[in-house]
Point group: C2
Chain length 326, copies 2
């Protein structure tokens, strides 16, 4: 394995998701020199790892860089991790249990590998190369099917005692409120994720309320961000009301986090934000403001993520650069 960390000019960032794998060869300034996308057809370790290896090799080939010239790989994985071993302990959406990802990948490609979870990596990408560039303390929130988060303090990812910090989706905002996937009630995720928004709209449809969504989907799971955006364009009242409700809860959560952590910036990404950010952000900001003291709120920025799909690969690259330094 190579250990030319200090004089390398390239690292590779990998975003390992349940539907696709993205890999990119990145230089020190965050410039993407080559990129590759692989569809994930099945969730076995062999299939996904195979696609990651292909992605890594493809970006090297495209850029004319040999694997032994690459300083490291930073990879964002879903689920809970064992950070010591760089292993995926449990990732329900790809059905992985106890997979020693770092060891397997290092063996396959011979490049030093660093593993972190996908939301930490997304936050790090936006902080290092995106909208959060230059901030000391920032909180990333990714609003999609669920709600995940990452925390940057003093310019670095913050992990906490059990290395699980950032579970922003499971702040309780309404004790005794709607049931959350985690088994608890009233979590932010149960109130403001895409699934929560879809659930409210689906319930309205079942009650016979008039909404254009009824004509766009056949079941609740089909109410994805694109459908929501389409319904908003058609000024669908039920959809707009449900999104406004979600925005208010996100604002309340941000308000609480401003009161407690007081970070310089909130970076909002994920499918819902990408599709509906311009509509939701003003309301999110207003609710956050209303839930804080003026002296706490002053100057704090609540921004849309800027890197889109590149947040993962650039975050992976940022992780690799960061770890290679130390």
């Amino acid at each position: 394995m190579n250990d030319r960390a200090s004089n390398t000019h390239h690292v590779i960032g990998v975003d390992m998701g349940g539907t696709k794998i993205l890999a990119a060869l990145v230089d020190r300034s965050g410039k993407i020199l080559a990129r590759e996308k692989k569809r994930v057809e099945e969730h076995s370790v062999k299939a996904i790892l195979g696609s990651v290896v292909e992605g890594v090799k493809a970006v090297c080939q495209q850029a004319g860089v040999k694997p032994d010239q690459v300083g490291g790989i930073g990879i964002g994985a879903p689920g809970t991790l064992d950070f010591e071993r760089g292993a995926v302990l449990f990732a329900p959406n790809i059905h992985w249990r106890n997979v020693p990802l770092r060891a397997l990948l290092e063996k396959e490609v011979g490049i030093k590998t660093f593993v972190d979870n996908d939301v930490n990596i997304g936050t790090l990408g936006e902080h290092t190369y995106g909208v959060g560039k230059g901030t000391q303390d920032a909180v990333g929130m990714f609003i999609g099917t669920g709600i995940g988060g990452g925390i940057i303090l003093g310019g670095k990812l913050f992990y906490g005692f059990n290395k699980t910090a950032g579970e922003i989706g499971h702040m309780v905002l309404e004790s005794g409120g709607p049931k959350c996937g985690c088994g608890n009630r009233g979590c932010l995720e149960a109130l403001a994720s895409r699934s929560a928004i879809a659930r409210r709209i689906w319930r309205a449809i079942k009650k016979g309320k008039k909404t254009v969504v009824a004509g766009l989907v056949k079941k609740e799971q089909e109410i994805v961000s694109g459908v929501l955006a389409e319904a908003v364009r058609k000024r669908d009242r039920i959809t707009i009301k449900s999104l406004e409700k979600a925005a208010r809860y996100i604002g309340i959560a941000i308000g609480s986090l401003i009161n407690v952590i007081n970070p310089e910036m909130f970076i909002l990404g994920g499918g819902v934000m990408e599709a509906l950010g311009p509509m939701m952000l003003p309301l999110i900001r207003e609710c956050a403001r209303r839930n804080t003291f003026p002296q706490c709120f002053r100057g704090i920025k609540i921004c849309a993520a800027r890197l889109g799909d590149d947040a993962g690969v650039l975050g992976g690259a940022a992780l690799a650069w960061e770890r290679l330094k130390t």
Copy 2:
């Protein structure tokens, strides 16, 4: 003014409250060599500052130490602060506005002075010399008339962008819930502070419910921690129910903080905890556990503060030692 920071053996910690002022001469190990307590009779700047100066002089005299042998004073003040100037911007409970505390005190006693807010100072005291000794990341929660908090990250007080981090009492746990003193609704403080507990009991009394508290007080404001403890000793159902409700909300807030920040320890102090900690702590812990994932909760300690009234003066001393180092 002295600047023998590096070879001094003494600092003074001051806890400046609305009812009393505590001062203590403290050595590097956190040993209190002399202490003084002054009752606060009126809230003018002159009166309170006068008592602080008397306290500082008294502890020096008691220990036979000259003021110019003292390395610094660390003082915890109520209200919002201007950290740059060491000034109290607004402290409603002592009716102070824009008082340049550091400058005034340095002029009066000729000792370098460091000002922070009382809950940060209490948290720092418990972290440096009390139950939190040796932890890297800890959260202090002080439950009294209101609920205040302080955050230690990487062994140091964490301030955030506007230097207002730690406003744990204003996390929203029940959006649309009971009105809080801050103007918002459903804050932890509106659900679990001594005032919130008293309000619930008083409402029960007004409704004609049977409770021993009715015989102990004449108005809601008299339901202080001592009265609550007395009612619990008499197994008063209404009081116990209200305290259990508060404990559950505190547990939910801690659970959310475990999910988001994942600190190693929570340190619970303040009047309510001092009087009722043994009764409330098991329920607080249980609710915190139920509101987190097992892998997030593992090993995290939820403890009663240990220093009581000394947390403030020892925290002030810790602040002075810390700042003199740098």
